[in-house]
């Protein structure tokens, strides 16, 4: 009851504001003549916006948008599961970007009178499309194009470097939960899978699947040559990393274990489809393919432009 | 007839020659020292509301004694204290001169058997298994039963006329049949002392007399000591060597049936007029209640 009343009130307020601000589909270039107040509800979008020099225009972000560090100063409004609607309204955004397939989130925001752009970034192609869309919506088509080009160049550079280095079978996994045995791995067709391809590897998991949870027996059956475990957040703690490493060392029939090629990476940007994908692919490639003569070893911690 | 003992504090039905005690005509009074005695026993379930106070009684070995008294007089509590299930707040209980607390649990269980009033838990044990439980003070730590245990159990079933229920579940039996099985369990314990709480309350006449007859034989032929709480004055008078009348947590009267089954003794305690006659065949008194009004 209270929520409905609030929405009605918010709608009236926003309607009043919006009525004075915009038309239904602002033509290209018209956005430059009015202040751009952006609401970004996805970390990758926030990164893209900063990369397009729109950091100052972001008035609200999700709780998880932590990069770049300046993003921390922007007020947080919750996440796609639970939005702080009052706060959103009080920030008076003119446009909202969110990466989600959930129609109800979009409907909620539009119900507040905020123009909402739903984006997708499950594949590299979709990422490029997303950058383009954001560029168009914010009147930054130029910088968007440049960004796309930079990413593409970086990826191509990685591709060229690993061309002749063979294609080992690589398993990309998140660590298993405490007390459980099963772990989430990147299936074929996911974003990470594409990164692996760029990095010159074949995904050890052969089926097209989003992020399946598999058992250790399956892992042993798949017999990857290289295992990359992405330990982030709480998993990045020292004792947890040691525990993960010890757990893997039990299973010497796995070629990656036998050859000492299990890597536990603590970088947080590896799975974010944003401006750092080139860096992510680079990092992965240096882990998967040992440095050749004259090349330095891979960077230990994350290192962003 | 000896003077009636009205002193509520010291009622010893067996001390030979005690003032106000029993006449020497009581059979077996010369047997000697009390075997089972309560000495100034007091007990309260909730503090401030004592159920028993200053209760003293003594029983020689080889006697059948019945404890009588109106509802709520503390008879069941007394029995539970005599078994050792409750610890009196004052006074103590002695068995063969030794305080109950001095006996190790197992040793006590081998000497004293208890037949409680109601046993209705529907657990699924057969009559035979129930009687075998009576052997548990004698079986080892893991509870294995020897052929001697089985023999004792079957014998107990025979003596209580319950052999044909051996393989039937206890909850399938009638109240009376169940009661006899429980008594058989006590017999299987092969105890010195048997304490029974209203053992014939659910039984028909045939079985009432059967059980009391059995108790009499246990006392006469095997020298056991039996204490039975009863609400049936005439039945108790017909079989018991000694009667103990309990009222409001104290002993109101104790002695032979002739001494206790008297209108002037019973009426004040039961608060109802009674008439006492003598059974010419046995020489024992019996009670005729006067209809109210």
């Amino acid at each position: 009851m209270k929520r409905t009343a609030l929405l009605v009130l918010a709608g009236a307020l926003a309607g009043g504001l919006a009525g004075g601000c915009w038309e239904s589909a602002p033509p290209e270039g018209a956005a430059e003549s009015e202040p751009l107040r952006i609401l970004s509800l996805t970390p990758s979008v926030t990164e893209i916006l900063f990369a397009l020099a729109l950091g100052d225009n972001i008035v609200g972000r999700s709780n998880y948008c932590n990069f770049p560090p300046q993003a921390g100063k922007i007020p947080a409004v919750g996440d796609t599961i639970h939005l702080n609607l009052e706060r959103i309204v009080s920030l008076e955004p003119t446009v909202a970007f969110v990466v989600t397939k959930r129609a109800d989130v979009v409907k909620t925001l539009e119900g507040l009178g905020i123009r909402t752009v739903a984006l997708e970034s499950d594949t590299m192609a979709e990422l490029m499309q997303t950058i383009e869309t954001i560029g168009r919506e914010t009147g930054r088509t130029g910088p968007a194009g440049t960004l796309k080009g930079d990413i593409q160049n970086h990826l191509d550079k990685v591709r060229r470097r690993v061309e002749d280095l063979g294609r080992p079978k690589v398993l990309f996994a998140f660590p298993m939960a405490v007390g459980s045995s099963n772990m989430m791995v990147a299936g074929r067709g996911t974003f990470v899978d594409e990164l692996l391809n760029v990095a010159g590897a074949e995904n050890a998991f052969p089926d097209t699947a989003d992020w399946p949870t598999i058992t250790p027996q399956r892992v042993i059956q798949l017999a990857p040559d290289v295992v990359i475990v992405n330990a982030i957040g709480k998993d990045a703690a020292r004792d947890r990393v040691d525990a993960i490493r010890r757990a893997w060392e039990n299973w010497t029939s796995v070629p990656a274990v036998a050859n000492g090629r299990v890597y536990i990476l603590r970088d947080e940007f590896l799975t974010i489809p944003g401006p750092s994908v080139g860096l992510a692919a680079d990092r992965l490639s240096r882990v998967i393919h040992r440095p050749g003569p004259g090349e330095t070893d891979f960077v230990q911690e994350r290192d962003r432009p | 007839m000896a003077a009636k003992n009205r002193n509520p504090v010291a009622a010893n039905p067996d001390t030979p020659g005690a003032t106000g005690g029993l006449s020497a005509s009581a059979p077996g009074s010369a047997k000697g020292a009390p075997y089972l005695e309560a000495d100034g026993v007091g007990f309260a379930y909730t503090p401030g509301a004592p159920v028993l106070q200053g209760l003293t009684m003594a029983l020689a070995r080889g006697r059948l004694a019945c404890v009588l008294g109106p509802n709520g007089s503390g008879k069941t509590t007394l029995l539970r204290i005599l078994v050792g299930l409750l610890v009196p707040s004052e006074g103590r209980v002695r068995l063969a001169g030794t305080p109950l607390e001095a006996y190790p649990r197992g040793a006590l269980a081998r000497r004293v058997a208890y037949v409680p009033q109601e046993t209705l838990a529907a657990v699924g044990f057969t009559a035979l298994e129930t009687v075998l439980m009576g052997r548990s003070p004698h079986t080892g730590a893991l509870g294995f039963e020897s052929s001697g245990d089985w023999h004792a159990a079957r014998e107990a079933l025979r003596r209580t006329d319950t052999e044909r229920f051996a393989r039937r579940n206890l909850e399938e039996l009638s109240g009376g049949e169940r009661q006899r099985v429980i008594i058989a369990r006590a017999l299987a314990q092969e105890p010195d002392v048997i304490l029974l709480d209203e053992p014939t309350s659910f039984l028909d006449i045939k079985h009432q007399h059967g059980i009391y007859g059995l108790l009499r034989r246990l006392v006469a032929e095997e020298g056991k000591t039996v204490v039975a709480v009863s609400h049936d004055l005439s039945l108790a008078a017909a079989y018991a060597d000694r009667l103990v009348l309990v009222s409001e947590g104290r002993v109101a009267a104790a002695g032979t049936p002739h001494e206790v089954i008297r209108p002037e003794v019973l009426s004040p305690v039961y608060e109802t007029p009674v008439e006492v006659r003598t059974d010419e065949a046995t020489g024992r008194p019996y009670v005729l209640p006067r209809p109210a009004g």
Binding site: I81, M176, A177, V178, G179, S180, S181, T213, T215, P216, Q217, R218, I220, Q221, G233, K234, D239, R240, A247, W248, N250, W251, T252, S253 | R80, V83, G84, L85, R105, G106, L108, A109, R110, V112, Y114, P116, T119, L120, A121, A122, V123, G124, F125, T126, E129, T130, M133, S136, P137, A141, L142, G143, F144, E145, S146, D149, A166, R167, E171, Q189
Partner: protein, 332 residues
Amino acid sequence: MNIRPLTPRRYVLALAGWVLLWLIVSAVAVVLGAENIWAWDSWEKARDVLTLRLYGVLTAGAVGAALALAGLAFQALLRNPLAEPYILGVSGGAGLGVILSSLYLTVMAAPVFGFVGALLTVAVVYAVAQRRGRLEPYTLLLTGVIMNAFYGAAIMLVTALVSPERRGEIAYWMMGTISTFDPRWWLVAVVGGLVLAAAVLFAFLAKGFNLVAVGEDTAGALGVPVDRLRLVTFVVASLVTGASVALAGPIGFVGLICPHLLRMALGPDHRRLVPAVVCFGASLLVVADLVTRLLEGIGGVAPPVGVLTAMAGGPFFIYLLRTRWRRKIEIR
């Protein structure tokens, strides 16, 4: 129903039979699984998978035995055939301890905190439910229910406060996990040892359980130290429950199903039930774990074993309730 004397020879034979059942079931469970390892040419791979399966089988055996034994003990203690190890809130306490430890302290100490949680719960429940040294069945049951409610709320609070990935982990763990990527052989050995010790203890207490089931006064008069028996049983059963939760998370209904099935087959005599329930409980959970592994081969995902026991246990519980209502049970 057996009406034959329980002699040492029969006891040992029966025990040997039950142990044999458990051994056979365990051997089968190690050899079967979703992956057809016999078609592999690599011995190292097969060895690793067999090791994983062996660990799972031993874990399931220890946990199943622990829960079934604790269930039997609680049912004897409370004289309530519907009592389960979890009704006393012990698993809730152990679970909360493990979760809090994994999240806010160190993950490695989680089993220790599981024990701590179980023991703390035991202490609290005992303190609340005891009166002048006696443990009262009704108060015990009620206190347990309240503790469970409290722990449920606490775990929900923790779940709400943590990040979404952690929520999934907690939810998954709460459904019970037998197999693990990081075998903790030492913990399995500890739990197994505890279960064995508890089983031996309860074998000696079995006589007393029979008598207490019939009635407290009866038991006391036959030489059973009823209050001490209650206390010891309560503490040991709770410890064993807490240990199994620390190892495999909360798994329900095993403590209910096993004692009842065996009672229907063997009768209410605890001397026969104790050895049987240990081996049968172990076997049951081993089979349940095997089924989850086989289901993975079919559906691609292995359901947590707790889901399986709940889905079997729920209808069984209802069936029990319906048959029990027809027989009057008095708790004295």
